[in-house]
Amino acid sequence: MSLTFYLLAALTLAGGLAAVLLKHLVHCALAVTVAFAGLALLFLQLDAQFAGFAQILVYIGAVAILIVFAILLTRGSDLPKDGVFSKTWYLGLVIAAGVFAVLGWAVLASVRAIPQQDVVPTVTVHDIGIALVGRYVLPLEIVALLLTAATIGAVIVAMHEKERAK
């Protein structure tokens, strides 16, 4: 387990923790951007260059900016008076800890059965392209349809209503 893995994992987890714990919304958005960047670097360390660059392009370049715009459009700068955590926050913490306990136990209990492949896979963009229009053409078309529907839907949902009800 190399040093870069530990550093990147620490960066990602710190960003994630900061994103859910900080009070000010824009700080949370910037912290989650750091988490996205850490994840992209982890992808690059796993030799998945296309996924890593796509992560930066989509998550940091689009999703983070969407989150920030939404915070600004919903006046996220005004902090609520009775705290930013809900009244039953301890339940959420217990559930999250429980989920992590189960997942962690599952990983550590099956360590012997985990496959180990030490050959670095050589994946070119050409292979990804051939796979996308070959074996995965149906998901590709469906994702295209989904993205179109989502874009149109998001615009219509968030659009200013031109006329109020008379």
């Binding site: 296309f50 392009l57 940091i60 370049g61 983070a64 715009f69 963009v125």
Partner: protein
């Protein structure tokens, strides 16, 4: 011939210099040292070009506006960047009291770092690319997308209405034109069959009858290049798309509250973004480091690359001095209702070009489709404008 090998050596002089310098180190350290030397070269050359460009811009704009630019510091004002540098380094660094100090501090750094990363994949000469990535173009656009966040960080952290407005406008503009930038590059990728920038340049550096195979000399390439140039001007917030930072509109937009060295970093970041986007434009459409005619291939490849980049910068400066500013809604309308549909049509025309095979038929068909689409879409857009006859009024 002796002259032939001389020109080959001149072409590769930087590579030979790097290999000679790296040869002093033990073999284990050589690859890392080579990369470090390349990084040092990029970090020295492009800010140096930036300094030169500031002078050219001010003098060029001055001449377009019928005045002489700066001419006091050095011969013809050429040492002006040194004066500017000393000024920005010694100015007081003012941070507003209510500003978010950490984000305010980080924003210019994030900008400069992500813009510098974009230079890593540009092929600046034969064999002169810092990292030959398989998905180089995707990496470049990923870095471009990351700069938008730093613009927002700068505008928001200043706690200033004008900064925030400028930042929101800049981010909205950059996102819209980013889509156009990506789509106009996709046509090049379709024809070349690779996302790797050195391969795209290699595909353009062949000659038939002395004329190069640059993509700009094809109908879809010309349309794609024009769309790319419009999108590049908008991405770097240059006139006529500089509403987010126009002095007469928004004080200085998202970098209002920055002074001294941080402002110099923003300025550097903007110009470096201009260089890197021009570099990508020359790589994709203008043939990168290849010479315009086959009898000129003896001139070093890095000369052609930097010459084309400086020509693009000259066109940027020319546009800034000539064209009036676009309003924000005109700019967004233009992006989504004209440039984007035209770029999508260009993709279709590129596919048609590829599958029609060699011959004059594909030239005619593609040109006719693109010109007809341009005329039709232009007329559709202008339906709502009522232009009378042009009238002039001269000052008495």
């Amino acid at each position: 011939m002796a002259t032939n090998s001389f020109f080959v050596n001149l072409d590769q002089i930087f590579i030979l210099l790097r290999n000679w310098l790296v040869g002093f180190l033990p073999a284990v350290l050589r690859p890392a040292a080579g990369v470090v030397l390349g990084v040092i070269a990029i970090v020295c050359v492009f800010p140096g070009l930036f300094a030169l460009t500031t002078v050219f811009e001010r003098k060029g704009l001055g001449r377009i506006q019928n005045r002489i630019g700066p001419n006091r510091v050095g011969p013809y004002g050429l040492l002006q960047p040194i004066a500017d540098g000393i000024k920005s380094l010694t100015k007081e660094d003012i941070v507003p009291l209510s500003a978010n100090a950490a984000v305010h501090f980080l924003a210019p750094m994030v900008l400069v770092v992500t813009v510098f990363m974009g230079f890593a994949v540009l092929p600046m000469g034969r064999n002169m690319v810092l990292v030959d990535m398989d998905a180089g173009l995707l990496f470049f656009f990923a870095m471009g997308a990351a700069t938008e966040l730093s613009v927002f960080m700068a505008g928001w952290s200043s706690r200033n209405k004008y900064s925030l407005l400028g930042a929101m406008r800049a981010v909205a503009q950059m996102i819209s034109y980013e889509v156009v930038l990506l789509l106009s590059s996709v046509s090049v990728v379709m024809i070349t069959g690779s996302l790797s920038l050195p391969k795209i340049v290699a595909a353009q550096s062949q000659y038939t009858n002395g004329f190069p195979h640059w993509y700009i000399f094809t109908p879809w390439g010309l349309a794609g290049f024009i769309m790319y140039a419009i999108a590049a001007t908008a991405e770097t917030n240059r006139s006529p798309f500089d509403l987010p930072e126009g002095e007469s509109e928004l004080v200085a937009g998202y970098h209002t509250e920055y002074s001294g060295f941080k402002f110099a970093l923003f300025f550097l970041g903007e110009y470096l973004a201009m260089f890197s986007i021009s570099g990508l434009g020359t790589t994709l459409f203008l043939g990168g480091w290849s010479a315009p005619f086959s009898f000129l291939t003896w001139v070093p490849s890095w000369f052609w690359f930097f010459g084309k980049v400086m020509l693009s910068i000259f066109v940027f400066i020319w546009m800034r001095g000539t064209l009036p500013r676009l309003r924000q809604d005109q700019l967004m309308n233009f992006a989504w209702k004209f440039v984007l549909p035209f770029t999508l049509l260009n993709l279709l025309v590129t596919a048609l070009w590829r599958f029609m095979g060699e011959g004059w038929a594909r030239w005619v068909v593609c040109t006719v489709i693109l010109v007809a689409a341009y005329v039709v879409m232009g007329r559709l857009e202008m339906r709502s404008e009522h232009f009378g006859r042009r009238s002039y009024r001269y000052a008495e």
